[in-house]
């Protein structure tokens, strides 16, 4: 019986294929437009258990992550980001979540006039 379990476990591991990385680096795009978005996106990512490091670049919209693959995966992180109102390629935020972001962060509308008024909110 024990042997059986061992064999089964070994098989499982081979199914997974690669050892899971404790410090997996990853980068993907998240929509947003300002420093406040940056805080919101980074906070959402870091609140996911297993995410160790998250930095979102306002200019390039790239979110750089370091995560523990044994605890989380990119889809979990994208869901968390969508939940606070930010879109990624695979996952769009619900209208409800999007409506909840600060008025100055409405990145979907092409309302260019307000961007200059709030970009200096936080430094």
């Amino acid at each position: 019986m024990k042997k059986g379990i061992t064999v089964f476990v070994i098989m499982l591991i081979s199914v997974v294929g690669f050892a899971q990385d404790k410090n997996k680096k990853m980068t993907f795009e998240v929509d947003g437009k300002c420093e406040m978005c940056k805080m919101r996106i980074e906070k959402a990512a870091l609140d996911v258990s297993g995410v160790k490091y998250a930095t979102w670049d306002v200019a390039s919209h790239q979110l750089s992550l370091v995560m523990d693959e044994r605890k989380t995966n990119s889809m979990k992180i994208k869901s968390a980001i969508a939940a606070v109102g930010h879109d990624t390629k695979e996952l769009k935020a619900t209208q409800e979540a999007y409506d909840a972001v600060h008025p100055c962060c409405k990145y979907r509308e092409d309302n260019t006039d307000d961007s200059s008024t709030h970009k200096k909110h936080h430094r």
């Binding site: 410090n23 680096k25 795009e29 437009k33 420093e35 805080m39 980074e42 906070k43 870091l46 995410v51 160790k52 490091y53 998250a54 930095t55 670049d57 306002v58 200019a59 390039s60 919209h61 790239q62 750089s64 370091v66 390629k89 092409d110 260019t112 961007s115 200059s116 008024t117 970009k119 200096k120 909110h121 936080h122 430094r123």
Partner: protein, 744 residues
């Protein structure tokens, strides 16, 4: 996908203006080859209009009148902001970034940045702010900043003393790139040993600092970052001259040797040969001086492997002559022909820094720093002689990482310090060596929203201060948008170097009394104080322009202090504190950009600084209780080649100051109990011709306000009533200066 989005964004603009800015972004290289940089971000600052460079590094971006700052950024390179006032073509080389972590695009660089999210109350002063005044050296870099008060030290050397929270510089930890600098033998003149042009930025922390830098900071910390070979311009020349006969020349030469090594040579010289005595008291209003200061820096970085390193060596030679006009050291030294003094300093500094960031884990790093300095000052003041030799070694090893994720960070490490002092005071030898080793741990938490805190502690063992524990705590809470409360608490200790810190007493007829209790440092115990404070900052928008309002209150309570008692005009008396000694400071600040190009800063400061002297609990002498500060800056809109005018004006109002008692002197050598309040004005105009060349003209103390009786007993400098230590206002009147800055 992203490009489509951007194009969509830009469509409404396209309709308005068909103009575009085109160009190519390249990787900086010594041969200036056109190495196109694909994928760099190019966008208008403060707008949603942006694009990325193509495979060959070229880009095209719509131009609109509303935006004139074009930001070019790429991870691993320094972001640059270009001023573009019309559709044109741009070729721009991006320099590799020397920061190890990824580039953070700065939305707007204010010359003075107040932190908003850090737990500590930090004000960052960048080089733009330093250009607002002459800033010949570090001691003058704070003229336009209300967090620091600049006072004159004595009637002879003209050295400016800085204060924070009502306490003088010995109670501040002054570091250079996080290595303790202005301390021990260099306490009195050390700030004048860092030329202003060498300074890249200054971080001023109010209240107890971080435990990482040691246990010595009591009222605050001032850290100076110097120019770095990789980011400074290849050639920089600055010349300066003022009407008091002071001439300065600064030259920086920087070069990149390979993709990993760069080096810089920084040469500073200043001298004053002309004897100036505007107030006709027979004494020089300013020292005759001569300083040579040479620094060589080496910078290494390998971003792929994560290593970064700095190696610094510096040599300084500084000579000052003060005293009566016509004093000739060759014939008059140690005679009563004339009263005079010479202060000669030679200093050597060397330091090494090594940093490693784990390439797979950008949140984890090691840092090691070690420094050595040897400071030798030989001086005499009339018949008083004072020589000090100070050898210092400092090293620090630190590890930074996270607990779980970057919301929980920690720093931990060990440090070691050695100070060897050898002093000769009027023939008496004072020698001692201080050795300490310590370990520190600092935890910082941020929830990325309302709360952040930093809690640190260190334990040190010191051959004179014993074994002790130093806690520090900083908390920041943001209850509503753009408003932050901060609190801080900390304990600091230091071994006071009483002669080096109070050198001005040698230029008087006062006898020096050491009333120690048999302690370990000149017969005294170490100084110990608790500092705590609260501050609130609210940023706001008024007429669509940014401003901020802040209130700070800090209190420092001394457990033990070496009280320097000037209350008897015949003597200066040193005692261990017996009774109370505290400093309360309140600062209210209001800053606003009142017009698109006009920034106004105002601050009111109240200092209640009292110590138990032989005459009872008294306000510290020469410390104004009330101060008011205003600074107005106006810049014209820069043209495409960077040319612009810059105007800067600073107004300081000081309330009355208590003077040390001179009641025991005969009538003609008495000063009042208080010195009346007065105001000072400084102004500077800078004409920038291009990014390469600018000229500035300025004036200090424009209203020509002077203290006429700065040298008590000037008529009889070898008599009993000679005293140059009671200085509450400028001695030399209006001082006009001019200079140029040239860079390639």
């Amino acid at each position: 996908m992203k490009k489509y989005l951007i194009i969509l964004c830009c469509l409404p603009f396209m309709a308005k203006a068909q103009d575009t800015v085109q160009g190519m972004v390249m990787e900086a290289n010594p041969e200036n080859k056109h190495l196109g940089l694909p994928g760099a971000n190019v966008y208008w600052l403060g707008s949603p209009i942006g694009t990325m460079t193509l495979e060959d590094g070229t880009f095209s971006i719509p131009y609109s009148k509303e935006y004139n700052k074009l930001v070019i950024s790429f991870v691993g390179f320094q972001s640059d902001t270009l001023t573009v006032n019309g559709p044109k073509s741009i070729h721009h080389w991006l320099k590799p970034s020397n920061a190890l972590d990824e580039v953070v695009v700065e939305q707007k660089k204010e010359a003075v940045q107040k932190t908003f999210f850090s737990a500590q109350n930090v004000v960052t002063v960048n080089s733009a702010e330093l250009l607002k005044a002459a800033c010949c050296n570090l001691s003058e870099s704070f003229e336009t900043n209300p967090a620091i008060d600049v006072n004159f030290n004595d009637a002879l050397t003209g050295t400016k003393q800085i204060q924070m929270l009502g306490l003088t510089s010995p109670y501040l930890l002054i570091t250079q790139e996080n290595i303790p600098m202005v301390r021990g033998a260099s306490q009195s003149f050390g700030l004048t040993f860092t030329p202003g042009t060498w300074v890249e930025s200054i971080q001023i922390t109010k209240g107890a600092g971080s435990v990482v830098n040691g246990y010595e900071s009591i009222s605050g910390q001032i850290n100076t970052e110097l120019q770095k070979p990789l980011t400074d311009v290849p050639i920089f020349v600055n010349g300066y001259a003022n009407l008091n006969g002071r001439l300065e020349l600064n030259t920086h030469l920087n070069t990149t040797l390979s993709d990993k090594w760069s080096t810089g040579l920084y040469i500073h010289g200043n001298r004053r040969d002309s004897e100036v005595d505007n107030n006709d008291d027979g004494f020089l209003d300013n020292p005759l001086s001569n300083q040579i200061n040479i620094m060589n820096r080496w910078q290494y970085q390998d971003l792929e492997k994560g290593w970064v390193s700095f190696i610094n060596v510096r040599y300084l030679s500084d000579e000052k002559q003060i005293g009566q006009t016509g004093f000739d050291p060759d014939t008059d030294k140690f005679t009563t022909n004339a009263w005079g003094s010479e202060i000669d300093t030679e200093r050597f500094d060397g330091s090494v820094k090594l940093g490693y960031v784990f390439p797979e884990m950008p949140f984890q790093s090691f840092g090691f720093q070690a420094s050595y300095s040897h400071h030798a000052q030989d001086s005499y003041y009339g018949f008083n002689t004072y020589d000090i030799d100070h050898e210092s070694i400092y090293s620090n090893l630190m590890f930074n990482s996270i607990i779980g994720n970057t919301k929980h960070k920690f720093k931990t490490g060990v440090s070691f310090a050695y100070d060897g002092y050898d002093e000769l005071v009027n023939g008496n030898v004072f020698a001692r060596s201080d050795r300490s080793a310590g370990a520190f741990f600092e935890y910082s938490y941020t929830n990325l929203a309302k709360l952040s805190l930093t809690a640190g502690a260190r334990f040190d063992t010191h051959n004179r201060l014993g074994n002790f524990f130093t806690p520090r705590l900083h908390v920041r809470y943001t209850p509503w948008e753009n408003g932050s409360f901060r609190g801080s608490f900390g304990i600091g200790r230091r071994a006071a170097n009483i002669f080096a810190e109070n050198q001005r007493m040698f230029a008087s007829s006062r006898t020096i009394q050491l009333n120690g209790n048999g302690g370990d440092i000149y017969g005294f115990d170490a100084e110990k104080a608790v500092n705590y404070g609260l501050s609130f900052i609210q940023k706001f928008k008024l007429f669509d322009r940014p401003g901020d309002f802040s209130v700070d209150f800090y209190r420092t309570d001394f457990d033990n202090q070496i009280v320097v008692d000037w209350e008897n005009p015949r003597e200066v008396k040193f005692t261990n504190l017996d009774g109370d000694s505290y400093a309360n400071s309140l600062q209210v600040e209001l800053n606003h950009r009142v017009l698109p190009n006009v920034e106004v800063r105002t601050a009111y400061k109240f200092y209640d600084v009292k110590t138990e002297y032989q005459t009872g609990l008294q306000q510290k002498p020469l410390q104004a209780r009330h101060r008011f500060f205003t600074n107005v800056g106006y810049n014209t809109q820069p043209k495409e080649n960077g040319s612009q005018w810059r105007f800067d004006y600073t107004f300081n109002l000081l309330g009355e100051q208590r003077l040390p008692s001179t009641a025991a002197n005969p009538m003609e050598y008495r000063l009042g109990e208080f010195a009346d309040g007065y105001s000072l004005m400084n102004a500077q105009i800078t004409k920038v011709f291009s990014d390469k060349f600018e000229i500035y003209v300025g004036g200090e103390n424009l209203t020509n306000f002077r203290q006429y009786n700065a040298v008590l007993g000037a008529d009889d400098p070898f008599g009993n009533y000679f005293d140059t230590t009671i200085v509450y206002a400028p001695i030399f009147g209006r001082m006009l200066y001019t200079g140029f800055r040239f860079k390639i």
